[in-house]
Symmetry: C2
Subunit: 153 residues, 2 copies
């Protein structure tokens, strides 16, 4: 039986809120988001499920899924798969509620948009989870793409 | 609005059954498995969620999540994330209910087991889904690791 890593516990829950997306190559947009970090009994990792909807039309926008694992005190790893044909391997650190992930690998299918690196920073303060997602894609340097603030429901 | 790819439709559903795992470096084991391939309204891909339990103890064993997308008639792509620190990018083909995926990329976090390539072959025949999963890992050549037969529930 594994002990659950204390570093990961603050993320557990379902979080909902609103975000804003922008990038040099697209028109800015607002979205609603639901994120769940859940556990599997006896397992030392978190299951990460995310979905967004367009803030005005309600149409499904993005989805992604993955896992967060501990790599020792203060050290974290994350795996992510996206329906857009993208996968991410992250390493990072956690301190004072700030989870800082930087991609070690971003790989894409032949028909996917060309994303080469990304940075995900999540901050948990009690029942608020905010994040910034930056990416290096389609020839652009590392640039902020998404910012959102969610509340634990 | 996207039309849903007809190539992917036979996979839709929740599937349960039993599998057998083996590899040159481990002791053979049996497991129960549940797989779901589901849709998101208006989106042209499948959401893939998998969980297994030990056949004797019922303890959670493995989990993985990802997405299947079409890359044109008869051509498919898949992204997978694993809590063990592994992500996979697959390309493949589908014909006569046989979905043949071969990894283009397998990437791992620093603390993960070293997996370098894998092949996933899924066969759908009506309400039966069987699969074979082979992998090249920990210095072994491409070797069969998992075989399972599931029934649509």
């Amino acid at each position: 039986m594994n002990d659950f890593p204390t570093d990961l516990a603050p993320l557990i829950g379902t979080w909902r809120g609103q975000g804003h997306g922008d990038y040099p190559t697209i028109e800015a947009f607002d979205y609603f988001e639901e994120v769940t970090f859940s556990t599997i009994p006896g397992k030392p990792f978190l299951v990460y499920i995310q979905k967004t909807k367009h803030a005005e039309t309600g149409a499904p926008l993005h989805a992604e899924a993955g896992y967060v694992r501990s790599a020792g005190p203060g050290r974290i790893e994350m795996t992510i798969a996206q329906p857009t044909g993208i996968v991410e391997i992250h390493t990072g650190t956690v301190a004072d509620g700030v989870y800082s992930f930087a991609s070690e690998t971003v790989a894409t299918t032949p028909t996917a948009v060309d994303v080469t690196a990304c940075i995900r920073t999540l901050t948990v303060a009690g029942n608020e989870l905010s994040y910034v997602f930056s990416m290096e894609a389609v020839g652009e340097p590392m640039t902020k793409h998404l910012v959102a603030t969610l509340t634990r429901v």
